[in-house]
Amino acid sequence: MTATVGTGTRVLPPLGPNRRFKVPKQAERRLGNGLTVIAVRRPAVPLVELRLWMPTGRTHLARGTMLAQTMLSGTASMTSVQIAAELQAVGGGLSAGIDPDRLMLSGAGLVTGLDRMLEILADVLTGATYPGEEVGTERDRLVDRIQVAQSQPAHLARTALLRRIYGKHPYAVQTPDPAQVHAVRPAALRRLHAERVHPADAVLVLVGDVQPERALDAAEKALSGWSGAGHDDELPPAPPLEPGALLLVDRPGSVQSSLRIALPAVPRTHPDHAALQLANLLFGGYFSSRWVENIREDKGYTYGPHSLVEHSVAGSVLIAAAEVATEVTAPALLETTYELGRLATLPPKPDELEQARQYALGTLQLGMSTQAGLASLTSAFAGNGLRLDFLAEHAARLAKATVAEVAEAARRYLAPARAVTVVLGDAERIVPALSALAPVHTEPARP
């Protein structure tokens, strides 16, 4: 039965001429203390975005996580409430986060408050005190937060996947054990701060309605007194993926299964990267991909399947993720393997590649069209030794990647033979069918 449909006679209008790809101007200065400051002007709204990236390779996990949790808890001159209130007064805010690559302080505020935000930032960087009372409170809150995370299927699936693909590498475990969190004392945080929170390899990014030179001057004025030269531990390269039995993590009673597939990938600067990015789009990297059209729009197995190349300092990996109904877990995996295999062994159609190419180029423009987007992009690039002008090179590579190059990238990186597969779900209900597709190794869910 069909309703409310007329006869199709109208023709899709063509696209207008492509706007030339323009990277916004940036200014950069290395301060005497070693801090790199990058400023980008986008005057759209009277705000400024701030990102401070400090490398933290091989930081003790529980202490590092607590450092981020308590860094804004007080300085010699301000309590945590005063820090928050003073930032609010200029429309500002700061938050801290950590992962195995970096400690990040980020925020945004009214551009008229830039100097004040930088002043408060400097006070935190040079004088965070980690007061006992606040550290105690935040320790308990962190443990609560970890418990909530560990009750989320997406978190459990990711935890299992990281452990499976990274083995003994520092990337393998990224959530601290509550017992270790409980053992963190203020003195250890002050020590860690002294060791790791220093300007030598840090990058500060400021983006907004401010002249870049003026932003650099403001940063220099506020942050020149930040000193110290602790150490950075280089991360070892991430190990190559080792395909093997499907790892099934048992979550009794789960009404969905979380599929996670890891595949090899290359860093942004690798000659294969543009072709790999396009191959990933064709497979599952956007809605109009083979995987989404198959397991969602045709089969209705899932809501939001997606695949993404994740870049970290020590290596890159392609991760495909889908939450599928328990009863179709094995069929969904079968279709996934089929789509990977089809792309790895047969070249894509030229118009299918054109569509993915336009998407890749268009979303580069979209990503640069807000202050927040520009700030995060600039910071992620700078943390990996790149600058925004890399985008122009990357766009040029995307524009000229051929069908043959994309097919070759798919063969090399998206082959199901190279996949590491983890499934979180109700083992009793899904193991029998999954065992028909691959050898299955079952483990209980572990936090």
């Binding site: 069909t2 409310t4 449909v5 063509p14 820090i83 007064a89 609560d144 268009g362 069209s369 927040a372």
Partner: protein
């Protein structure tokens, strides 16, 4: 601490409004600072309008609007947007449903074509309906059933606070209701609510007004005219006695609680409503806010806390009846009664003493940043202006919001706090069935 007051800045996005002969209202807001555009179509129908026995239908229908239309096969919409370098989505709210794209600006005409085509008529087939019922069920599993705190509190608090089906029911819908939906239901829903006279189109970003106006007329001008249906009255009386409820969430490791109080009509009494939007931030925005300082830092009675107006946290996109909400997660074994008592105590204190020196000004400065940041994204502008046009006939209000928020006085915040009495409160407690 010195009460320095930051000057609240404003945006000056230009606004062009017109109405086509078929009743479609149009808002254009040009800004040529980046080569991108936002296109939004908002229909004046949402969760409150779905009929009994068809819970979740407004959202299911939103999915069906992506399944092909008069001149477009299934999958074509997605491919045409993304193949132009853009992204798309749609979302279903209590009072409206939106459809939107953000794209490089050379795709303006294409986006208008795509939206006009489905405004003329989506392809409603049995096969597409069954497929999208399956997809929506997986969406509900991922967001509600397979995770802790699913639907808390936006789905679990309305049935405590409200008595009528439109306001109280589960907007995601029951699996039974979703499975009994028919193509005929969808066709009726489309005819009734997806009328040109019931829609607003907004275009923001890198466009020339004259050129965009001509393109809008070319593509939407011959969409058949259908008038907007009469909007039912969804009013309910305020609570006169406290309401409390609780349920066990088998997956939740920590207890949680949410409480809500009715607020003035956001449309007809905007001046009376705005102080509540500010009050929610005074209470909960950041470590220096009243309730965070007291409950998180001082008492350690809760581990996280949030507050906002509108069940989806959408204070400028809702109609009456709506509410100011507070929600908190408690440490293991935490005492919900004590948390609610402390909230009452802090509200009393604010109602008696008013905000402290500088407390309101700093909260308003921070709210200005949030409001401005949301409008920096070209799509954020199109969406907000479309809804402001639909609900108020006033898209330019977007430019005024930071200033209006900044004009709320200590006395207004004090008076708003004084109305949040326990006897007007509805609350829901999550019992931690997954506690270890």
């Amino acid at each position: 601490m010195a009460a320095r007051r930051s000057r609240i800045p404003a945006t000056k996005y230009p606004v062009e409004r017109f109405t086509l002969d078929n009743g479609l209202r149009v808002v254009l807001t040009p800004d040529r600072s980046a080569p991108v555009i936002g296109v939004a179509v908002v229909y004046d129908v949402g969760i409150r309008s779905e009929p009994e026995g068809r819970s979740g239908f407004a959202h299911l229908f939103e999915h069906l609007m992506f399944q092909g239309s008069e001149n477009l096969e299934k999958l074509a919409h997605f491919r045409h947007v993304q193949g132009a370098g853009g992204t798309f989505n749609g979302s279903t709210h209590h009072d409206y449903t939106d459809y939107y794209e953000t794209l490089p600006s050379n795709a303006l005409e294409r986006a208008l074509f795509l939206e006009a085509d489905r405004m003329r008529g989506p392809r409603l087939t049995e096969e597409n309906l069954r497929n999208q019922v399956d997809v929506v069920k997986e969406e509900i599993r991922v967001n509600v059933l397979n995770r802790p705190y699913g639907g808390f509190p936006w789905l679990t608090l309305p049935p405590v606070m409200f008595d009528t089906f439109p306001n109280a029911h589960d907007g995601y819908g029951s699996f039974d209701d979703l499975e009994s939906a028919t193509v005929a239901d969808a066709a009726d829903f489309f005819r009734r609510y997806y009328a040109s006279g019931n829609a607003v189109l907004a275009v923001s970003g890198d466009v020339d007004v004259a050129e965009a106006t001509a393109l809008v007329e070319r593509h939407f001008g011959d969409v058949p005219a259908r008038p907007a249906p009469q909007r039912p009255d969804f009013a309910e009386p305020d609570l006169t006695a406290e309401r409390r409820s609780s349920y066990t969430d088998a997956l939740a490791p920590l207890p949680a609680v949410a409480a809500a109080w009715r607020v003035p009509d956001p449309i007809t009494d905007f001046a009376g409503y705005l102080p509540y939007v500010v009050l929610a931030e005074v209470l909960t925005d950041g470590d220096a806010s009243r309730l965070v300082e007291r409950l998180v830092q001082r008492d350690r009675a809760v581990t996280s806390l949030g507050g906002y107006v509108g069940f989806m946290g959408d204070p400028f996109d809702v109609r009456d009846p709506t509410a100011l909400l507070l929600q908190a997660h408690l440490p293991p074994g935490g005492d919900v009664d004590k948390v609610l008592r402390t909230v009452d105590e802090e509200l009393d204190r604010l109602a008696t003493d008013g905000p402290t020196d500088g407390e309101l000004a700093r909260t308003q400065a921070r709210m200005a940043t949030h409001l401005l940041r949301d409008t920096d994204a070209v799509l954020g502008r199109a969406l907000r202006m479309a809804v402001l046009e639909q609900q108020r006939g006033e898209p330019g209000l977007l430019n005024e919001l930071p200033r209006l928020v900044g004009e709320v006085t200590d006395e207004q915040v004090r008076a708003a706090a004084a109305t949040l009495r326990p006897e007007r409160r509805a609350s829901i407690e999550v019992i931690a069935g997954g506690a270890r």
